[in-house]
Point group: C2
Chain length 244, copies 2
């Protein structure tokens, strides 16, 4: 087992992005809508459906027994969530804004998958991707400072914003500062202070609440510490050698 954690009985995963052909499976499902603050499902619910996000943004939360909340990820258009081999969801998924999504029962999702080897491969591949992302986040949480965490997060959001058709230097943040804090393992105050500091250094400008302007991307990358492979300006498919 990768980590030494005790969760022998659970096998759930996760949220899958950019799900190539997989999204096609949902084509015949009706579109459902959700307003900000509402959940697609809750932690502990019986896991009977798989969902595809079509519009809007969501957060994936887990609750600790003492009330602490952790955000393990964010979702947006094109992501799939709820894929699972267990019968209960391990996390809640909550809308950050107006969301449109489609659903498929796990049973029919499985059936389609059996019939389509290409999609099975896509799913497997996306699952591997998912693990890599989770491990990246582990590294981030393991040993990065508040500034490094925030810079890494902002760069990731920048890429996401751009790939969804935004300006090349504008970060769109559908989530609140508190969400960011819960995602990065920080407090809202630290997130706020760090943003202020970066703004003071002329690296970015955060006039609006949900929009951050990147002024010096290179500085941001430097402070993110090891952007590793994606250090460069991405977007093109050129894979660079990652040596350390």
């Amino acid at each position: 087992m990768l980590a030494t954690n005790v969760r022998p009985l659970f096998e759930e995963a996760p949220a899958l992005s950019d799900c190539s052909g997989l999204l096609g499976l949902f084509d015949r499902s009706p579109i459902e809508h959700l307003s900000a603050g509402r959940n697609i499902f809750f932690e502990g619910d019986r896991a009977e459906h798989v969902f595809a996000v079509r519009e809007g943004n969501l957060r994936i939360c887990r609750q600790l027994h003492d009330g602490r909340r952790v955000i393990t990820g964010f979702l947006s258009s094109g992501d799939i969530v709820g894929v699972s081999f267990q019968n209960r969801y391990l996390h809640s998924v909550e809308a950050l804004d107006n969301v449109a999504f489609q659903r498929l029962t796990k049973v029919s999702f499985d059936k389609e998958l059996i019939a389509r080897p290409d999609l099975r491969h896509a799913l497997l591949s996306k699952l591997c991707d998912e693990v890599a992302v989770a491990q990246d986040q582990m590294v981030l949480l393991s040993c990065k400072s508040a500034e490094e965490r925030l810079c890494a997060f902002l760069l990731a959001r920048l890429q996401s914003s751009v790939s969804q058709g935004g300006e090349p230097n504008v970060i769109w943040l559908p989530m609140t500062r508190l969400d960011i804090a819960h995602y990065l393992g920080l407090t809202i105050e630290t997130v706020s202070r760090t943003i202020t500091k970066l703004a003071g250094q002329g690296i970015l400008s955060a006039d609006r609440r949900h929009e951050i302007l990147v002024l010096r991307k290179a500085a941001l990358q430097q402070r993110a510490g090891e952007g590793s492979a994606e250090a460069d300006d991405s977007l093109d498919g050129t894979v660079r050698h990652v040596r350390l």
Copy 2:
């Protein structure tokens, strides 16, 4: 995408444990040996094989550009590592003691999988499990104190030790304190101090370096935060309520 991290080009996974039928695939592979400190493979190596651990213990490491090291997991007998959809490994795997393992080329691993739907399902299931474990670790790193982290870690190792046939209250630790620290996102000093503190409270006894005796499992669970409901009882009848 679950996390907002930027790793669009990588899809690797992970280490799979308790790999039901999957282990059978390696039956015809010769057994290879490795002594402590040696690697099965390094981060950045071309990913051409999948490996099954037969004996001994290993650690999974990632290196940051500035030299910081993170341990993302530990492996032992029955675990599979190297499953990947990318052509380079994202982490190193290094022996903690004398290790015996077998290998299979990715190509033949894939071939076998195509022929065996049951194994495909097992793999998918294990991948989901893997993600769940990684997310548990994210939660731990996100918002748990040093004491909570260590207690959770020790409980997991206890379970692992017991399931491998050890005494019900003895934790076997094949790794060093530094490894534990790098796994939990702490320093070696903090790990050491925390163990000393727990020993001072009569919760455990750590006379030997690689062996910890659990004296009050219930207290350990309580301090792990969210070990949740499974009541203690533990080892002796005298279960005392321990508040923090």
